[in-house]
């Protein structure tokens, strides 16, 4: 079976290479048969990669330990679902998943657009094929998932903390996002190579970008939630390089999703958009490089591996290619109109873009800091949380404010007077909320109260918009149905507001206390009195489970358990935090069993106000994205009409 898998990957590599070579030749010489052949090869490449993936998946589920990959990532006692998730548990499988998703996206997007964008597709195919060639080459020659051995008795299994439903869903979500950013890149590069720099590539890829962006965003949130409930240090984001690697392309894609609206409408920001698309793609490949190469110290500790240099070459090659392409096509990317006023919707979108990209580059700077200081100062240095927190506030708070202004300000030219008139409700609500919160004592954190005030502002703008629109059309469903993209956008903005409130609440107004408690003793944290009752030890299926039984009174009353699991298999242990959610306040009482000390236990108790809004935001985010993604015939017609106008 492994031979078949290996053969399927070689076929994939051959097909990708053919799609690249035939695609370029066909497009340059304008030979339709070669162009079609390249396109078919790309689709066939998906089929052969799918066969290879199916072979690997079946080996994992069957626990076929003649596959080294199955032996090192599964074991007999591992449930089927987790055995399957071992597919993306290691480097080789992850790379195969990359290739599978890439060829899948490529085959589908190229097939769906082949009539509408024939001239552009001719060049899109070789771009996809180039990326696929690289990944299939790595899988064939450097890091193969089909290495075999003589049969082992049992496999090495999967680390206990990763045997968790979140870890089944989180990596493929991220991959769907990462790899999905190749689609807009391939179409943009295809359009530039074909010297067809009109807006068609934007329209063809809008939904693809949106879907990739949704997966990437939701995937990160799943990872955060996993860290929060499973890793148990009490946080959900640590600014770790590997986490940042996923955040950076997401920020670039967020900027892109906004600036395309300006290009569609006004024919501006054309250069900026291709730069953003290239940046998002580069960052997604760079992210894969970062997580796989081990150049940067991360708590995720992926082993230093042989594919690092290959990825570095690929990142550099694609960066040089993108730069050359954009520079050589600059004359085609001239804007149709100019920015008329610094106070207009175009301008606010531009500010939003600058802030998002600035935040993205700041994070990149932080991630690369150890490498750069090593290279230029001879000593590696890291920058920690304060740096990131500072810039998150410096760039994030203005972004939040712009989220309220942007959708309401007039196109072309607005006056301060008209803007204030439009925003009179949001401004008064925000000011009132600010004053009330100050009285309630939220002034203990300046960034916190600014964030809350801005959130109230944005929330009111959304409500005002929806109410006004509903009055005009007569029904809410009709309103949303008529302009899904706009109202889907509002729903996503609402999710971001919830998210911002959650972040501000849990970080700026949280409480932490550490104390040694003997059975019967009580500690008080932020309105809760937590009592340690007794210790229970139970023998579970895979571990010995120690649990401290705690009762609490105060803001809410109840019982929770917090403890540790000692795993029989490898003698490792993990903390199992006790969380009580007070839904009325969206607040968590979070108890970490730190260490046993004689009869007593050191407990770390955290009260995290509003933290649950983060997870609610995730669901709202998905709903909003789906609304904006949903096919809309009317919108399509409008775009085509606008496009015809633009090309005339």
């Amino acid at each position: 079976m492994a031979d078949l898998g290996r053969a399927a990957l070689i076929v994939s590599f051959g097909l990708a290479l053919w799609a690249l070579a035939a695609g370029i030749t066909g497009a340059m010489a304008n030979r339709r048969r070669l162009v079609d052949s390249a396109r078919n090869a790309l689709i066939a490449c998906f089929v052969s990669t799918f066969i290879a993936s199916a072979i690997l998946a079946s080996a994992l589920v069957r626990h076929d330990y003649t596959f080294v990959y199955a032996a090192s990532h599964t074991s007999h006692d591992l449930p089927t679902l987790y055995s399957l998730s071992a597919f993306w548990g290691g480097q080789e499988g992850s790379l195969l998943l990359w290739l599978l998703i890439l060829t899948g996206y490529a085959a589908l997007s190229v097939t769906l657009n082949k009539r509408l964008l024939r001239d552009l597709i001719a060049w899109t195919v070789p771009v996809f094929a180039g990326v696929a060639t690289f990944f299939s080459f790595i899988l064939v020659a450097v890091s193969s998932p089909f290495v075999t051995q003589s049969r082992a008795v049992d496999g090495a299994g999967l680390t206990p903390s990763l045997q968790n439903p979140y870890m089944v869903a989180h990596p493929p979500m991220l991959y769907l996002g990462y790899v999905g950013l190749t689609v807009p890149f391939a179409f943009a590069a295809g359009a530039l190579l074909a010297r067809q720099a009109d807006e068609r590539w934007l329209i063809a890829t809008r939904r693809w970008t949106l879907a990739a962006w949704m997966f990437l965003g939701f995937g990160q949130l799943l990872g955060s939630h996993w860290a929060y409930v499973e890793v148990g240090w009490g946080g959900y984001y640590a600014w770790d390089p590997v986490e940042n690697a996923a955040l950076m392309p997401w920020l670039a894609a967020t900027a892109f999703l906004h600036s395309v609206m300006i290009q569609e409408r006004k024919g501006m920001l054309k250069i900026w958009n291709v730069v953003l698309v290239a940046l998002a793609f580069e960052l997604s490949v760079f992210g894969t490089f970062l997580t796989r190469s081990g150049v940067i110290n991360s708590i995720h500790s992926f082993a230093r591996s042989s594919i690092g240099p290959w990825f570095l070459v690929f990142v550099c090659a694609t960066a040089i290619f993108s730069t050359w392409l954009i520079l050589s096509r600059l004359p085609l990317l001239r804007a149709r109109t100019k920015l008329e006023s610094a106070l207009s919707r175009e301008a606010t979108f531009l500010y939003n873009n600058l802030l998002l990209v600035a935040l993205c580059l700041t994070i990149l700077w932080g991630v690369l800091f150890p490498v750069l200081t090593q290279a230029f100062l001879g000593e590696s240095k890291t920058i920690g949380r304060p740096y990131y927190d500072f810039f998150l506030r410096a760039f994030g708070l203005p972004l939040l404010l712009l989220m309220g202004i942007g959708p309401l300000i007039a196109w072309r030219r607005a006056s301060v007077r008209s803007l204030i008139a439009t925003l009179r409700w949001p401004i008064s609500v925000a000011l009132t909320a600010g004053v009330v919160l100050l009285i309630l004592g939220a002034g203990s954190s300046i960034p916190g109260i600014i964030a809350y005030t801005f959130c109230a502002f944005v929330l009111t703008t959304i409500v005002v918009e929806v109410v006004r629109g509903t009055r005009a059309t007569g029904s809410l469903t009709e309103l949303v149905g008529r302009n899904r993209r706009r109202y889907g956008g509002y729903v996503v903005h609402f999710a971001i507001v919830l998210f911002a409130i959650g972040v501000a609440g849990s970080s700026a107004y949280g409480s932490t206390k550490e104390q040694l408690l003997l059975p019967g003793q009580t500690m008080s944290v932020a309105g809760y009195n937590v009592t340690y009752k007794n210790l229970e030890v139970e023998k579970g299926p895979t571990s010995s489970e120690t649990r401290a039984v705690m009762t609490f009174t105060g803001r809410s009353t109840g019982t929770l358990r917090s403890g540790t699991n000692a795993y029989f298999a490898d003698g490792s242990s993990s903390r199992e935090v006790g969380i009580h959610t007070n839904w009325l306040r969206a607040e968590d009482l979070y108890v970490i069993f730190d260490q046993k000390q004689g009869e007593g236990v050191y407990f770390k108790v955290l009260v995290k106000p509003l933290v649950n809004l983060l997870w609610v935001a995730g669901i709202v985010f998905i709903i909003g994205s789906m609304v904006a993604l949903w096919p809309d015939a009317r919108e399509q017609k409008r775009l085509v009409a606008r496009l015809a106008l633009a090309r005339a």
Binding site: S72, H73, A86, G89, G90, Q91, A156, L158, T159, S161, L162, W233, W272, N297, I299, H300, S301, F302, A303, R304, S305, L350, L354, V357, A358, L361, T362, W365, F369, P370, T373, E379, S380, K381, T382, I383, G384, P386, Y387, F390, F391, E514, L516, T564, S572, S573, S574, R575, I592, D594, Q595, Q597, Y602, K604
Partner: protein, 119 residues
């Protein structure tokens, strides 16, 4: 626009240079001469003794390559789940009277991604 980006770049260059509390990342072998707070990465060497909440947890740390002298560590705080002899850990702290006094520790998670020496 390019100007705006350049200015923003300048801002965080300045920030990291002046305000930013960047921490040197070291291994035991190049710790000598550093008196301020540093981030120290290495391999845990036994014996592990003491108690992290009272007297402090004591153990040794040497370079991950294994080719360095072992530095005594005194750690106060919450010990991560995955801490044990032989693990690679990252400590934040400073040298005090020949002992590295640390208050923050993260272990490199032996995730399913790792292949080096099967840890």
């Amino acid at each position: 626009m390019a100007l705006a980006i350049a200015m923003l770049l300048a801002v965080f260059l300045l920030y990291t240079a002046v305000v930013g509390n960047s921490t040197p990342v070291l291994q035991p072998s190049n710790l000598a001469g550093h008196t301020g707070t540093v981030s120290l990465t290495g391999e845990v060497i036994g014996p592990v003794a003491g108690e992290s909440h009272t007297t402090g947890l004591t153990f040794g740390l040497r370079d991950i390559s294994g080719k360095s002298q072992t530095i005594p560590i005194n750690f106060h705080g919450s010990v991560p789940d995955l801490f044990k002899v032989g693990r690679h850990v990252n400590l934040t702290g400073a040298m005090k009277n020949g002992t590295f006094v640390a208050t923050d520790m993260t272990t490199k998670c032996p995730s399913k991604y790792t292949t080096t020496n099967g840890s």
